[in-house]
C-alpha cells in the first residue's frame, strides 16, 4: 500500500506535465514520456559522464527539456494545433519515435539499463513499522514541491494567469491581448521542463533506458484523466490512486494483475464518471 505511494508519485510527476500542456492547449502530448526519457539521459550525461554536481545536472536537464519542448512546438505542433485532435496526437507520436530513435543511437550502446547514482543514502530507513528507501521519499516530496510551485505559478504570475485564460477561451484571450501562440509554446516548454525535473528525481529509482517513456506516459495519462485532466491536485490524486491500485492488486489478488489493474480501474471510472474524478467541463479548443 505504501509502496504504491512511491510509484504513484512517479506517475503523478508525469501526469503534472501532461495536465499542464492540456490546460493551455487542450491537447495531449504523446511524446511527454519520451521527453522525460531524453531529460533523464541529459542529466546522466552531465552528472555521470561529465561529473557535474547533481543539482547542476538537474538544472541542465530542466533547461535542456524546456528548450526542446519549445523547439518541438515551433517546428511541429504550432502548425497542427489548429487542425483536429488526431493530427496533434499523430504529430506528438511522431516526435516520440524520433526521440526514441535519437536516444537509442546516442546512449543505447552503453549498457542495457543505465543506473543513476542516488541523491541520498541508499540504505533503507525505518519510520515506525514502515521501511522506506530515502530516494522514494525524495520522489514523493519532489512531486509535491513541483506541484506546489506550479499551483503558485498559475495563481500568482501574469504568465500563469494568461495560460489559464488561453485555456478557458482562446478567442477572448486573444482579444485582451494575450499572444496565444506564445502561451502554447510556453506550455509545451514548461511541460517538458517538469518532465526534466521529474526525470532527474526518479532516475535513481527507475533506471534509464530508451523505452522508459511509453509506460510512464500511459500511466501518467491515466493518472491525469482520472484526476480530470485540468486539475493539478487531480493529477497528484490520480497518480497516487493508480499506484495504490496496482500495489493492492499485486498484493491481494496476484502479481499478474499488477499491470492490468490500472486499466480496469480507468475503464470503470470513465464508465461511471465520464470526466474523471475531479474534472470540470472541458476547455474549449482553439
Amino acid at each position: 500500500m505504501l509502496s504504491g505511494l512511491t510509484t504513484g508519485s512517479i506517475y503523478a510527476l508525469v501526469a503534472l506535465g501532461i495536465v499542464l500542456v492540456y490546460k493551455a492547449t487542450g491537447t495531449i502530448n504523446f511524446a511527454h514520456g519520451d521527453q522525460l526519457m531524453i531529460a533523464g539521459f541529459l542529466a546522466y550525461t552531465l552528472h555521470v559522464m561529465l561529473g557535474l554536481p547533481y543539482l547542476v545536472a538537474m538544472l541542465g536537464a530542466v533547461i535542456g527539456s524546456f528548450l526542446l519542448g519549445a523547439l518541438a512546438e515551433r517546428i511541429g505542433f504550432r502548425a497542427v494545433l489548429r487542425s483536429n485532435l488526431i493530427n496533434v496526437v499523430l504529430a506528438t507520436l511522431g516526435l516520440s519515435f524520433v526521440l526514441k530513435g535519437v536516444a537509442r543511437l546516442t546512449w543505447g550502446g552503453i549498457s542495457d539499463y543505465l543506473s543513476f547514482p542516488p541523491l541520498v543514502s541508499p540504505d533503507p530507513i525505518m519510520i515506525g513499522d514502515l521501511i522506506l528507501l530515502p530516494q522514494q521519499l525524495v520522489v514523493t516530496a519532489g512531486a509535491l514541491v513541483v506541484m506546489g510551485l506550479f499551483a503558485l505559478f498559475f495563481r500568482l504570475t501574469t504568465i500563469g494567469r494568461a495560460m489559464q485564460a488561453t485555456a478557458d477561451n482562446p478567442k477572448a484571450a486573444r482579444l485582451v491581448g494575450i499572444r496565444v501562440e506564445h502561451i502554447h509554446m510556453l506550455a509545451f516548454a514548461v511541460g517538458a521542463a517538469v518532465a526534466g525535473a521529474g526525470a532527474t528525481l526518479m532516475a535513481p529509482l527507475t533506471l534509464l533506458y530508451p523505452d522508459i517513456g511509453f509506460t510512464l506516459f500511459i500511466k501518467g495519462f491515466a493518472a491525469a484523466v482520472l484526476g480530470g485532466l485540468t486539475s493539478l491536485p487531480g493529477a497528484l490524486v490520480g497518480g497516487l490512486a493508480i499506484g495504490i491500485v496496482e500495489a493492492l492488486a499485486a498484493g491481494y489478488i496476484h502479481s499478474s494483475f499488477l499491470e492490468v489493474s490500472a486499466f480496469i480501474a480507468i475503464m470503470l471510472t470513465l464508465v461511471l464518471r465520464p470526466r474523471g474524478l475531479m474534472g470540470g467541463p472541458p476547455p474549449r479548443r482553439a
Binding site: 505504501l2 509502496s3 504504491g4 512511491t6 510509484t7 512517479i10 530513435g101 537509442r104 543511437l105 546516442t106 546512449w107 543505447g108 550502446g109 552503453i110 549498457s111 542495457d112 539499463y113 543506473s115 547514482p117 542516488p118 541508499p122 540504505d123 533503507p124 521501511i131 522506506l132 528507501l133 530516494q135 526518479m202 535513481p204 529509482l205 527507475t206 533506471l207 533506458y209 530508451p210 523505452d211 522508459i212 509506460t215 510512464l216 499506484g243 496496482e246 500495489a247 499485486a250 498484493g251 496476484h254 502479481s255 499478474s256 499488477l258 499491470e259
Partner: protein, 393 residues
C-alpha cells in the same frame, strides 16, 4: 496529370518486372569473386535492439578483423542488416528480403524469440544456413532443422542449470519470479517442465512486469513463503527492483539469475542498495565480462567503430557467433555452397571463441551448439568471478 496518374500502375508493373533482374545473376547466391554476403535480421529499433543491433555490431567487428586480414579465401565478408522490429511479421519480411531480394549466402541473427520462431518456417524452407545469435527459445533449434544452428544458450538449457544450481546449494524452498512477456515465457515454460520432472513444489510463483518500479507486494509474498532460493526470470531492471525491495525488508535469499542479467557489476549498481546482491549469482552466456582484460582488443574495436558505445555482453554474443561462422566458412573451402557451409558447421567441434563459456560443438543431430552455462558472481566490493560452469547434455 490525369494521364500520368493512369500510367502509374503500368510504371509500377514495369518496375516490378525489372526488379528481380537488377540483381546480378550468380551461381551461388551471395558469393562473388570478391565478397560473401551474410544477411542478418534482428531488432534494430524498439526495445529489443539490445538483442539485435548491438549483437550485429559485434558480428561486424569480427567481419572487419577478418577482412583486414584478407577475408575468407580471399573474399570479403559483408553484413546486410534488416530490422525485424521484434515481431512476427517484421521477421518474416526481413528473412524473405534477405533471402530473395538481397541474395544472402547465409544468415545470422534472431534476437526476439517470437519473431525468430515465426520466421523459422521460412528459413527452414529456404535451406539457407542460419546461425542464431541471441534468441533463447528452445523451439528455434528443436526439433532439429538441418540448416538451423544456434550459438546462444537455449532457455531450456539455462532453466535446467538454474534448478540444478539451486539444489546443489541445498535449497529446499524454491520460488520463481518471472516476467510474463514472450522472453519471460520462453524461460518459464521449460523451467516449469524441469520442476515437474524433478518433482519439486514451488513455494511462490510471482510476476514482475518489465517496466515495474516497485516490487514490494511480490517481495512480501516470497518472504512470507519463506523461500530460501529465488529464481529470477527477469530483465535487469525488474530484477534490480525486486532485489532492491527485498533488501529493504532485510530479505536476502539465494537469488539465481540467467543470461538476461549477464553483467553482475552493472546489476549491482542498478540495484543500488549496498550488499543487496551479495547472494546473487547469474549465468553468463559468455566467459568474460565487458571489463575483462581478455577482451581488451574487442573493447577497442567496438569503441573505434561505434564511438558512442561501450563493449557489452550483447556485442560478445555477436563476436562468438561470428567467429563460429567464419571458421565454418573457412572449412567450407574456396568454392563455398550453402550445403557445404551446413556440412562445415556440423564439423565444428569444441571450437574455442573469444566469448563463450567453452568450445562450440554443432552436430547433424543437434543444432544447439552452445551448452555450457557459466556461473558468475560479484561479491560486494570485489571483482566479478567465475564460480563454475555447468554443461547440460
Amino acid at each position: 496529370m490525369r494521364i500520368a496518374l493512369k500510367r502509374l500502375p503500368m510504371l509500377l508493373l514495369a518496375f516490378l518486372l525489372l526488379a528481380p533482374h537488377l540483381a546480378v545473376a550468380q551461381e551461388v547466391p551471395g558469393v562473388s569473386a570478391e565478397a560473401i554476403r551474410i544477411g542478418s535480421f534482428g531488432a534494430l529499433t524498439g526495445p529489443g535492439y539490445l538483442y539485435g543491433r548491438l549483437v550485429m555490431n559485434g558480428v561486424e567487428a569480427v567481419f572487419d578483423k577478418v577482412n583486414a586480414a584478407g577475408g575468407v579465401h580471399g573474399r570479403r565478408l559483408t553484413l546486410v542488416r534488416e530490422d525485424d522490429r521484434c515481431e512476427p511479421s517484421g521477421a518474416i519480411a526481413a528473412v524473405r528480403k534477405l533471402v530473395f531480394q538481397e541474395q544472402s549466402f547465409a544468415l545470422v541473427g534472431g534476437g526476439c524469440s517470437n519473431a525468430t520462431l515465426a520466421a523459422r518456417g521460412e528459413i527452414e524452407q529456404s535451406g539457407v544456413p542460419f546461425v542464431n545469435f541471441a534468441s533463447v527459445h528452445d523451439g528455434i533449434t528443436l526439433p532439429r532443422a538441418r540448416n538451423i544452428f544456434s550459438t546462444a544458450l537455449t532457455s531450456g538449457i539455462e532453466s535446467q542449470a538454474q534448478i540444478a544450481y539451486a539444489l546443489d546449494q541445498g535449497a529446499r524452498r524454491i520460488a520463481v519470479v518471472s516476467m510474463r512477456d514472450a522472453w519471460g515465457r520462453s524461460r518459464y515454460e521449460p523451467l516449469m517442465a524441469e520442476i515437474r520432472r524433478r518433482g519439486i513444489t514451488l513455494v511462490a510463483d510471482e510476476e514482475v512486469p518489465p517496466d515495474a518500479n516497485d516490487a514490494t507486494p511480490q517481495v512480501l509474498r516470497v518472504r512470507q513463503a519463506n523461500a530460501d532460493a529465488v529464481i529470477l526470470l527477469l530483465y535487469p531492471k525488474p530484477g534490480a527492483v525486486f532485489l532492491r525491495d527485498a533488501a529493504k525488508f532485510g530479505f536476502r535469499p539465494l537469488a539465481i539469475g540467467q543470461s538476461g542479467i549477464a553483467d553482475p557489476a552493472a546489476f549491482e549498481e542498478q540495484v543500488g542498495v549496498p550488499g543487496a546482491t551479495a547472494r546473487f549469482v547469474t549465468i553468463s552466456m559468455v566467459r568474460y565480462t565487458p571489463d575483462s582484460p581478455e577482451v581488451a582488443a574487442w573493447r577497442d574495436a567496438i569503441q573505434a567503430k561505434y564511438p558512442a558505445d561501450r563493449l557489452s555482453v550483447f556485442n560478445l554474443f555477436g563476436i562468438g557467433n561470428a567467429q563460429t561462422l567464419v571458421e565454418a566458412l573457412r572449412r567450407a573451402g574456396p568454392q563455398p555452397t550453402r550445403e557445404g557451409l551446413i556440412a562445415a558447421l556440423n564439423t565444428i567441434s569444441d571450437f574455442p571463441t573469444d566469448a563463450f563459456g567453452s568450445g562450440i560443438t554443432c552436430t547433424p543431430e543437434d543444432g544447439r551448439c552452445n551448452k555450457t552455462v557459466v556461473w558468475i558472481q560479484k561479491p560486494p566490493g570485489g571483482p566479478i568471478r567465475v564460480i563454475g560452469t555447468t554443461t547440460v547434455q
